[in-house]
Symmetry: C3
């Protein structure tokens, strides 16, 4: 993503020029001709978005406050550029992450005929909406932001978390509404002058009233600590989010666990370790992760690894990854397992624009009833139990 800084001439509303200001408009428009084939589970061929980088439109700025201090704002909205809609967020970090309205579903049609007419998800700053004070002490950041444990799954994977090659370890914990971002967060980031050490801490609230049964629902925290030096980069992260009751729809959407309807949960924890080494001719990277869902009526655990590499070839970049995720169910003799292979190529037409193609395959095994087999991406149905899923991307990514 290239950054665009708008040069501004600033005038006070009534009278003389007074303050210096700047707003940066930035974004990505990434469109991909995508095919997901879940075998007898069904296939779909579509024009989709965000095959190589997440499509977005954002506004941000930095104000120098003097004395090494600065104030910053960042408002970034996800854009589904295949149909023009925006993307929803996770509201107050609780289950039932709101999804884009789907007026084409059979149920929606019936409802619409009866008078309730759903609109479409508008643009909102679901990706990030923060205000910060930064200085020698680091950065205090308030608002909706990435959760610390998300970063390792993203930065140490050749595909990040987009397209058919996207990180398997992340999609395996999609049950966690704070697996990527949290609303209502207070974050602290270490300053950048600690000799390669970087890190952050984050605390967030579910904002339920104290007298409610679910008063702690959506509260949580995360930590990340890393070290980067020359070609070397490594980081560890962990997080914990408290939850109330899991609604049915959310529970069955995940491979991590399928609690019974209305089951009361305690918390979800995610821990991961990632690293990369750039040999010049190629960059190797890897992640290991362990997730658990702990409740009053039992717990489940998931563990996985990903090994990947990127290799520059002229104006292009070859990407490859292998990953595996296993869910450990105490009450089951077998552990459902998903394996993913992904191979891709990105051809840069400029620093801002590229064409790309990706092939990926997920193979599921040891599946048990109640656990859906994993597809190559989350938005196009699922393979049948223990079935495989294959995905293809051919797209254009343009940053501004």
């Amino acid at each position: 993503m290239k950054k665009t800084l708008i040069a501004l001439a600033v005038l006070a509303a009534a009278g003389a020029a007074s303050a210096q200001s700047s707003v940066t408009i930035f974004g990505v428009v990434d469109a991909t001709i995508q095919r997901i084939d879940n075998g007898t589970g069904g296939a779909v061929t579509r024009l989709h978005n965000s095959g190589e980088s997440s499509s977005r439109l954002g506004f941000r700025g930095v104000e120098d406050l003097g004395g090494g201090m600065s104030a910053q704002f960042w408002l970034e909205a996800g854009v589904n550029n295949d149909d023009g809609t925006g993307q929803a967020g996770s509201a107050n970090n609780q289950f039932l992450a709101p999804v884009a309205l789907d007026p084409t579903s059979t149920t929606a049609r019936t409802v619409a005929a009866s008078g309730v007419r759903p609109g479409q998800q508008g643009l909102m700053f679901n990706r990030r909406s923060t205000v910060s004070l930064a200085g020698g002490f680091g950065e205090i950041r308030l608002g909706r932001d990435y959760t610390p444990q998300f970063y390792n799954l993203n930065v140490f994977d050749p595909y990040g978390t987009v397209g058919v090659g996207a990180q398997l370890l992340l999609s395996s914990v999609s049950l966690n509404p704070t697996s990527v971002r949290a609303s209502n967060s207070i974050g602290y980031l270490l300053p950048s002058n600690l000799g390669g050490i970087y890190g952050q801490a984050q605390y967030y609230r579910g904002e339920n009233v104290s007298t409610a049964a679910n008063s702690g629902d959506g509260n949580g925290w995360g930590l990340r600590l890393g070290y980067a030096a020359g070609p070397f980069n490594v980081a560890i992260a962990t997080s914990r989010t408290t939850y109330g009751t899991v609604p049915v729809a959310a529970a069955t959407a995940s491979a991590l666990a399928t609690p019974a309807t209305g089951q009361v949960l305690g918390n979800i924890r995610q821990t991961n370790l990632g690293g990369s080494f750039d040999f010049g001719v190629a960059k190797l990277m890897g992640v290991v992760s362990r997730d658990s869902m702990n409740s009053a009526v039992g717990s489940f655990e998931g563990r996985g690894y990903m090994i990947g590499a990127t290799m520059p070839v002229g104006a292009g970049l070859i990407k490859a990854s292998v990953a595996q995720y296993t869910t450990d169910i105490p009450t089951s003799g077998t552990d459902p397992r998903a394996r993913k292979y992904a191979l891709g190529y990105v051809h840069n037409l400029s620093k801002r624009t590229a064409i790309y193609t990706t092939y990926a395959r997920v193979s599921n095994s040891n599946g048990v009833a109640g656990f859906a087999s994993q597809p190559v991406t989350g938005g196009a149905g699922s393979p049948v139990l223990n079935g495989s899923s294959t995905g293809y991307d051919l797209g254009i990514r343009h940053s501004f």
Copy 2:
């Protein structure tokens, strides 16, 4: 619509200047004091939007890739500036085009009281959201875009498709969700150096899973070919979209056809031919169109024409049009027919700003049960069967 190109000074986020970039912010804010009188069908006087040009806010940019190649993005949102809401799109090109949430309807009130609280339609890039690669070969464009057969109805009409004078032939096929735009489209546009010949092809997907009964619902394509030379301009276009089941609400909303509830359709086809000749003292234009809906249980056909003219008068422009649309129903002895007359004047205060007024009248005849008589615009109720509808606009249009 005036185009505004922002001059940018580009700095890399951390350090030296590196890439050249530009984002253009553009838009229209058009407000009109509008009265629609449908006789005994009811009247409404309101402050409405888009009486002379569609209100919008957009972001776009072009990157020179060298060698005659360029990458482009275009994100354009419709804005209802009378109440601040955004506009919904057509999702996956299927029936039940989502409409803006109407929290003031009786049904919505009841639902809200029971706990489901509808919001209002937020801003989304319903008008266009595309990324393109262009060069000597033409342009490949991916995303949500106008359908090819829409252009003739818009560019060869003095009123385009906005305000009380809006194109009758278009509103007659409002049953077709892709009558104006399609999501998930792959488009190809001819280069601009073909001696006046221009054209485009578009293919779009409904993106249903292959195993669904409606797997082809929303798939379609369109073609347009034109020739412009000096004062002369002519173009022909055709399109075909496959549909599954028509929900009740959508079916009764159109004059084209009223299939029974749940009727399985085959496809909707639209073909039109438009042209204009600029005599200097006046510009004459016209369109003829033919639409058909073909299904397993019968088909309907519509045909229409529009003749219009614009005449510059000092800083102003007089606009006039006459149009007729007839629906041919095989099982009916009579063919419902709507005739429209429109007369207007636009007074330019500058290249970007104008005030305008329009008068229009639609007369319906030969109506049969199940076919609604057509109003001057679609959003303010309908006249009674075979009734007339009159409209008035008095507004301001400002582009930026």
Copy 3:
């Protein structure tokens, strides 16, 4: 709020430079760590937005038309930067002001499980979306805008209408959908050269069809007239809005009145008088207000006052206010009353950025069944009948 004027180089789309244009991007990102304690009514600790200034993102511009005339547009969206969502408006000035979708409510969960999936409120220009023509005669402004009687409650209060210290007199009439803004409005503002006299008139429509039972629902008007000279400023305002039926949910949300379900209303009137005097060492200000709801089955009246002061202390500003609102119910022997005290401090880090803290307390008395006791802010539950509510803010406000 600092204003940011983007310097633009303008090029016509095809060829030579032609028109001069400008778009200003402006906004506020204000995040506050807020605690609302309603005693046994429940408490909530949260990261909230708009504790000192309303968070927003806007686009506006002015075009010089020559001869002292100008055209202006203004599109301003409210932003909930704690979770990234947008804010809804009041649609057509009618009851059931649409609220942000709350996918975390129990009801919403149930509905979602049954197939209707609510999204989240997207960005829309709920704060203001207008186009204007201005000149020596004043300004004609069309669209969604503030109502005239809102200003006195905002500009003559140290806290305006945001944060835990927000204006008590305004929140007491939250039943009125046009208490802050109106959609579909036609406004006229006096020119600025009348020797200190300023004022505006506004008319707005509910836009119901003439044949509907509620055809007048949402129609209304407002007037404001003021005089400012040196340290002195005073203004009076009044408004009247016609209403149809009040739905249950909206009625119980207000302290002004609780009509029975389906009760037919006549109108709501609001009148207020505010003033301020800047002594240099401190600025004193005050407002008195009187509101009434008049219907066929009886009427209610509310009256209140607010006295406040701001005092500069170095780079900071101390704010204090005391307010009282009493509802006069003819059929009740007691008059429900709310009193509010607020004390705060804003520390400016620059002209654009500040940190702030506020403490506020509302005490309710004489409450009767059907009238909710008032909280310090409207969005975090309510105290029990005749209970108290305490609020704390600690936040950052950044303008751009």
